[in-house]
Symmetry: C2
Subunit: 442 residues, 2 copies
């Protein structure tokens, strides 16, 4: 998931600039003392906002609070006064600080009722692992009177949805909903995708709202903006909103619009951006560069090998995050020490002694070694200086050589990636993947 | 920075459970439409909460809203009614959707006044790059009457702090503060560390507040809690707060306390947890397992080689995230295809044909191959079925063999890691790193 980076939006002349047609007000409440102590990063906000936007709902407010009964009830009371749909995360587990289920039932004046279907589900989960259900999970079998529940395919606590008949709220829908989701992302995400999302689609009408992100690489953020903004200006005046987001080695251009013209405006914007940025666009929306590369290799029936020095396995790890990568990815070598380059890739000691381990010649030899030893159609190799130590005036920290080998050609390019160590690895991996994408697309 | 996982807290009998001695209520308001569309991750919350906790302040609420005048003013009005210190992020830039400065001045009835010192600073920044100051930055030179400003060392928009004489609030301090920070992390973070933090220390008294996290692995979250909670109970009654946070393959135990007893309580709690969990604790606070392993190897003068199948480079990538990893890490093989196991690690075809690629015998042969070919003291090898495809009744998806080879011994263990593909890789990598840690500590 991309982390927050340098992101700007334009075309926000009038307020509220989020499309008025998203008529359902949605608010999110994230509970957890660990959030307020800054001990963990709140990834739920982005994930849920994204999913809700894809369903046509725009989140108007997100609140994070500690596991504190008074604060949780206050936040829920305030949110329900403003919003038509309130989603809470966390606090449904079996321990003493998991307060949400009880607090929401109390707030809305509902009894908690034992549910046998949930109990059976939890027992089954434990039985599968040969364990008996701990008594602490009793609380997870409780459902507020009249609430819907969503069984947790990846955990024990079910999700809950409470309908609140609307007597004062602004919505035309006649009711508000309070949805409670479990805190762990590996439980929350599939529950939302498989159950809550489809249910929301049926239950709650959304406004027309279209969002499309075009993902590019190889051009800096300010240049991307400079290139496209003039041609997009007429569309902005008609209501298209444009956002730019710089990520390590990539830039996203986000096009959003609301109302009956939304799809048309976004499609026209997309055509403009595609015309101007051309082959620099590697994908749309949630497309990841590594998935695009794997898919291209699969479609062309080609195989891939890797030789990584300074990226230290980052490229291999990104490739193998893609389900089905084993169809195209034969393997890779993380040749951190020079001896590994020699032993595993057959890069002769002469070569790195003469040119240095970070050199065009060594990058090429690594790529050739990986390709021939693994019998792959293509190999990409990376050698460079991640830092913080190891730079020289001639080859400063950030210097990288990337080489690409196929049956026909061996080529190397030099890059200068001046970033912290972690970003350096990500940027370099993106450059290598992008070169593979262009090579195999050609 | 660890991302959010399953986290719970106990010892929250009475509310508010965040230490009462943190007498200053702090709230954070993050503005940005890109946040509400889920296009970027809000990293400001964790970063600021952490920094403020280090200064002895606990954030009681965080709110994110779109770049919308009405919502921004409402959120600020509500926060100022509750809190003694309100920090906003974003909306100070030169474009039409940067509204915060003007909205806050209006909310508090202050005029905006041009400031020559800021103008000179901005002009200087542009001049250094050979550019003239764009007129759009005029707005950045405006300061609400009576506000403090903090020059931006990494951008143009200064930070602003407005003092609000307290006539109704709950604080004893006699005043509230509204602080506005620029949105880009590369501007906000150094501004906070170099200017805002030191200023807060002088201006705003904080309570004594101590937080310590003990990081463990190899024991599930509910077991960790079960093991330690009885012995911690007396400390909880004296005011110690305990939180548990499950991460892929690891569990954090967080001990927090406020007041004059804080350091003593936390130290006593730490001793209890250390006694009970013993060697399962791999580190404290921000320690990462891979960094602990690299440091142990370095201290003992040992070297490491890797052979990864199902983790696909994840272990190598984590090891090489650690600065100085090259001192101990020789290299690794990502042997995704069986041919790669044979070619690069010398695992004979007989072996995997007889036992299957996911087997104890192949894991051991991979470890031995990596160790001997790379000439390392230790090698760890991993082979398993990440899924979603590839499982059998005998070896279901999630089956993993991890093998460890040294000059003395070769050993393999079977694990069953039933997770989504990405979590599977992380959990398996953690198990392998943990085994290395124990092996080299012994």
């Amino acid at each position: 998931m991309p982390s927050r980076s340098s992101c700007v939006s334009t075309g926000l002349a009038s307020e509220p600039h989020l499309p008025e047609t998203a008529r359902v007000n949605v608010e999110i409440i994230n509970t957890g003392s660990e959030l307020m102590l800054g001990r963990v990063l709140n990834t739920h906000q982005q994930w849920l906002c994204r999913r809700l936007a894809d369903l046509g709902h725009v989140v108007t407010r997100q609140v994070a609070i500690a596991d504190n009964a008074r604060d949780i009830q206050n936040a829920a009371r305030e949110a329900l006064a403003r919003a038509d749909l309130v989603i809470t995360t966390g606090g449904l587990g079996p321990t003493s600080d998991d307060l949400t289920r009880e607090l929401m039932a109390e707030l809305l004046g509902r009894q908690l009722v034992k549910n046998d279907r949930i109990r059976a589900h939890i027992e089954e989960r434990f039985a599968k692992r040969g364990w008996t259900r701990p008594p602490a999970t009793d609380v997870e079998t409780l459902v507020p009177e009249g609430a819907l529940f969503f069984l947790n395919a990846h955990g024990t606590a079910p999700g809950l949805a409470m309908k609140i008949e609307n007597n004062a709220g602004p919505t035309a829908a006649g009711a508000k909903w309070l949805i409670m989701l479990p805190g762990p992302p590996r439980e929350l995400r599939p529950m939302f995708d498989d159950q809550i999302g489809p249910w929301l689609k049926r239950e709650i009408k959304s406004g027309i709202f279209v969002c499309r992100t075009l993902r590019s690489t190889g051009i800096g953020e300010s240049r991307v903006q400079e290139f496209v903004q003039t041609d997009l200006h007429p569309l902005v005046q008609r209501g298209l909103e444009i956002g730019y987001c710089a990520r390590p080695g990539a830039v996203d251009v986000r096009l959003t619009a609301g109302g009956s013209e939304a799809a048309k405006l976004v499609a026209e914007g997309e055509a403009v951006v595609a015309r101007i940025l051309g082959a620099s666009i590697f994908g749309k929306d949630d497309d990841e560069l590594e998935a695009v590369v794997v898919e291209l290799f699969r479609r062309k029936g080609k195989t891939l090998a890797l030789a990584e020095s300074c990226t230290g396995g980052e490229i291999a790890s990104r490739i193998t995050n893609v389900p089905g990568a084993s169809e195209i990815f034969l393997g890779g070598v993380v040749s951190y020490a020079n001896s590994a380059k020699e032993q595993l890739l057959g890069v002769s000691a002469d070569l790195w002694q003469q040119h240095g381990a970070v050199s065009e010649a060594v990058a090429q030899a690594m790529a050739v070694g990986a390709r021939t030893r693994l019998g792959a159609d293509f190999a990409v190799a990376v050698t460079g200086i991640a830092g913080p130590g190891g730079g020289t005036p001639e080859k400063p920290v950030g210097t990288v050589y990337i080489a690409l080998a196929s049956a026909q050609v061996v080529e190397a390019r030099r890059f200068l990636n001046i970033w912290d160590r972690h970003t350096f690895k990500q940027v370099t991996a993106t450059q290598a993947l992008e070169w593979l994408r262009r090579m195999v697309s050609a």
